[in-house]
């Protein structure tokens, strides 16, 4: 059974690693979560990203949501902002593609080209 005591242990552990994190500016992963995004399956995509970030113990990565980006037909949409790099917009995302983006783009700096908006929009 999950208890609040566990949270206090998590607090201690997190505080120890947090100072390291502040030094580098972080990566932001933003998921479109308006009606269109949610209906297209944004929630499992977002939760998969979070799961991968946690599993890989990535520090300095924040996952956030935004409203309608204006390309509802291409939802679920995920935008990746890496410090010092141009924004990358991924479209028609799935949990599987989300796991790939974390492994290839966030960790290894290789943009997953075939999932980007440029490949879908003429």
């Amino acid at each position: 059974m999950k208890t609040l005591q566990e949270l206090e242990e998590i607090r201690k552990r997190t505080l120890e690693t947090m100072n390291l994190r502040k030094e580098s500016e972080g990566t932001r992963i933003v998921v479109g979560m308006a009606t269109c995004g949610i209906a297209a399956g944004a929630r499992p995509v977002l939760l998969k990203i979070m799961e991968e970030v946690e599993k890989r113990n990535l520090s300095g990565v924040t996952v956030a949501q935004t409203g309608c980006i204006g390309l509802c037909q291409l939802e679920p949409i995920v935008e990746v902002y890496k410090p010092g790099q141009e924004k990358v917009t991924y479209v028609k995302m799935t949990p599987e593609a989300a796991a790939r983006v974390v492994a290839e783009h966030i960790v290894n700096d290789q943009v997953v080209l075939e999932q980007t908006v440029g490949r879908f929009q003429v």
């Binding site: 609040l4 998921v31 308006a34 996952v63």
Partner: protein, 185 residues
């Protein structure tokens, strides 16, 4: 939308856009009364009566990208299709309360779906907003109150820290399971 939990995720965005600091979410299933009730209440900016009156019209929205807003109309449609009802009460400066009811056994009643996923998503994406989520099944219930978590975590550790997220997910899944096990007997 395939699940009630997705409607909840969607309408809570309205609460967040209204600047809510505390949002209550409740999903209540009663087998004897054959009802399923979903309530969302926030302390956001509220809406004036003339806006409340037309807010379930798909051609009314506060979004700026387009002239249609389908969040509330779709939620309402789901409830009405299952012999239920849908109501919104709001007061400017006080907040908004929304209530959707369903006849639980109705063939067209949408599944509740992954409420744990919805609540986890909301907390993850809005670590500075407080959520009180209550799930009831007959006389059993469990609650996740982010204000309690915040007290345990202190001010330095945010609710969207990965390890905290994992705890929240497990807590929600365990809680839901506990309710359903009782109902199987």
């Amino acid at each position: 939308m395939e699940e009630i939990s997705l409607h909840v995720l969607d309408v809570v965005q309205n609460s967040l856009n209204a600047g809510a600091a505390l949002i209550h979410i409740e999903v209540d299933e009663q087998e004897q009364a054959d009802t399923l009730t979903v309530r969302v209440a926030d302390d956001g900016s509220g809406m004036p009566p003339e806006f409340v009156a037309k807010v379930t019209d798909p051609f009314v929205t506060t979004r700026t990208t387009r002239k249609v807003g389908l969040g509330l109309p779709l939620f309402m449609q789901g409830a009405k299709a299952a012999d239920g009802d849908f109501s919104i009460q709001s007061e400017v400066g006080k907040g908004t309360r929304l209530c959707a009811t369903y006849r639980r056994s109705h063939i067209d009643r949408q599944p509740v779906g992954d409420m744990a996923g919805t609540v986890q998503t909301l907390v993850l994406c809005n670590p500075d907003t407080d959520f009180v989520y209550t799930r009831r099944f007959n006389d059993r219930s469990f609650t996740l109150d982010t204000r309690e978590l915040r007290r345990a975590l202190g001010s330095e550790v945010p609710l969207n820290a990965p390890e905290v997220q994992a705890w929240i997910r497990d807590y929600l899944i365990e809680g839901e399971k506990g309710l359903l096990e009782v109902s199987d007997r």
